[in-house]
Amino acid sequence: MKRIAGLSVVTLALTMVAAVLVHAALSINGAGATFPYPVYSKWFDEYQKKHPDVQINYQSIGSGGGIKQVTEGTVDFGASDGPMNDEQLKTFQDKHGFGILHFPTVLGAVVPTYNIPGVTAALNFTPEALAGIFLGKITKWSDPAIAGANKGINLPDADIVVVHRSDGSGTTYVWTDYLSKVSDEWKNKVGKGASPNWPVGLGGKGNEGVTGQIKNAPNSIGYVELIYAVSNNIPYGSVKNSSGSFIKADLESVSAAAAAAAKTMPDDFRVSITNPASNKAYPIASFTWLLIPEKFSDAAKRDAIKGFLTWMLADGQNYAEQLSYAKLPKEVVAKEEKALAKVQ
């Protein structure tokens, strides 16, 4: 009896030692954007398989939360769907004495989706029509601004029900960023942000909330992430880009938007690529960023994060497309690899 007890104590002790050894892996914590979460969790998982000594934990609490937590220093890195503004950068600089860097990781797009009884064809939307609808100035589907771009489709003389996100989100940020660029009235009256003061419409929580309300309300229109629309087979419309072609969002047209932006990419990577000057580009797309502090007091952590970023820019990119995210253009990858040297 005693021997069994002694044996189990030894086993227990060994198990605990083993557990401690496993946990001795370097643990890195990040928090932020929900939109790239599927690809991030895939990356962190794959990276850990290759580097068992590094464990990256990521909480998808939203871009706002990511910026806040990395500024407060409660996580090692942040993630955001919209770049930090100058004021936020200054707050970080003042608090820590060094800056924070943006590293684009993948690209996503936002698409208009709708439910009009009797209409099955994919609709074309001009920027004027989208801005007019979301400003509440275009109220009927039969309005010439919509019908003009959809010749041959019988649009009903019905009131448009506008649906938007009720929760603050990067998706809304990209959508309103686009509307601000194509409509001065939108820019002055509403502006861009994660949760603007909507002139019209109903709010749905999350992509699923917006889709649910659109399904429920006949003659409605809303916007969702491309990935969400693709993975749930939700029909969506094409949008007219700055060259005048109607483009349906897909990996190719989103990558084209990124390639157009790559040439003029600023050194801090804080760039909006909505409405780019390219005839193949889908106009409502955006990078999503990792927010990495310039200095780490822990050298092991710094090296691990740099190691991950290097891998993410190379092999990691290959996981993006199977999850419906567009890869970074080569020029951007090269530029980011250079920027990695700034992390010390």
């Binding site: 502006g191 942000g193 003061n197 709010g203």
Partner: protein, 328 residues
């Protein structure tokens, strides 16, 4: 009572023993520990108020009392006002109570007074089950069942018959104040039934027998004697329901439409305080924005506090007029 049945030789009465003796016998320790438990609830409440107060300092200074009367909520322009959210919270709670109170009390009377005991116990099981359903389930029920029913049948019917009232005008989306109120009513009815039933059942038998002995019918004894006797407790159940309706977040945000509007029409989409906090907290980046959300939390706290105070007052007034159990 313990005092009347205690053995004479068990020692002097508690008050006359020395502090050390009481400490040794554990009375003092038990008193201290239970006091700490009781005090912790007060402490948590005070900390909550303090935290909400401090966390909203910036917004309170910037907007002052204007916060309560401003209708604009514009995070981009950093203009924040609580009025549409307070309005939405109060309207949905009112609608829910208007539906839930008669239904809930009626059901409780049936279960406690009129139904056979076995049926009553069996139904009570289902009611307790309903009370334990997570609110997101009620939200889904709202989205998939109540909203289409409202849009296709209830709202057109109301418009046809009572459409001349501003309450039932405007486009019928299916979502909005009325739908949120109905979903909330479904959620709070179990509370009203469950507590009211307990209270009604605890009314002393003598009361019923006296009424019956005086020649009243079963219903007369229930309605004229038992229910008035239990009204303090029933009131308590209603305020429990009100508290739940005011603070409900998930189910409301799924059916209310999430648009900060103030409209006389119950068909209009709206917003509630709890829903906007849950929706916008994660992406609230600016300090002022975050603090305005915290201030909304403070407003909700105040609202609950005020209504609770009113409830106490109401109970105090009604129980002075005689009768009443102290179950509230």
């Amino acid at each position: 009572m313990a005092a009347t049945t205690s053995v004479p030789n068990a020692g002097p009465i508690p008050g006359s023993r020395s502090f050390l003796t009481r400490l040794r016998e554990g009375d003092e320790i038990a008193r201290l520990i239970t006091f700490l438990f009781a005090a912790s609830t007060v402490l948590v409440t005070l900390l909550l108020i303090l935290e909400l107060w401090q966390g909203s300092a910036l917004a309170r200074h910037k907007f002052g009392l204007q916060f309560f009367v401003t209708r604009v909520w514009d995070p981009i322009a950093e203009q924040f006002g609580a009025l549409p959210f307070v309005y939405g919270t109060l309207i949905t709670a009112t609608v829910s109570l208007a539906i839930a109170v008669p239904l809930g009390i009626g059901a409780a009377i049936f279960l406690a007074e009129l139904a056979p005991a076995r049926l009553s116990d069996a139904l009570e099981f289902f009611i307790d089950l309903l009370a334990a359903v997570p609110s997101v389930i009620y939200g889904l029920l709202g989205v998939f069942i109540v909203v289409p029913l409202m849009r296709d049948y209830a709202q057109p019917a109301l418009k046809k018959t009572l459409g001349f009232l501003p309450l039932f005008s405007g486009p019928a989306y299916g979502i909005g104040f009325l739908t949120a109120g109905i979903v909330l009513a479904i959620m709070v009815i179990p509370y009203i039934i469950s507590v009211s039933r307990e209270v009604l059942m605890s009314v002393p038998r003598d009361q019923r027998e006296a009424a019956l002995g005086l020649g009243s019918t079963r219903w007369e004894s229930t309605w004229r004697v038992v229910v008035p006797f239990a009204r303090t407790g029933i009131m308590g159940s209603i305020f429990l329901a009100l508290a739940r309706a005011l603070g409900e977040t998930m189910a409301v945000t799924m059916v209310i439409g999430n648009t900060p509007t103030i409209s006389a029409s119950l068909f209009s989409p709206g917003y509630s305080i709890a829903a906007v906090i849950a929706n916008e907290f994660t992406e609230a980046t600016g300090d002022l924005y975050l603090q305005a959300l915290v201030e909304l939390g403070l407003v909700l706290f105040l609202l609950t506090f005020l209504l609770n105070g009113l409830a106490r007052l109401l109970i105090a007034i009604t129980s002075q007029r005689g009768g009443g159990t102290a179950l509230a």
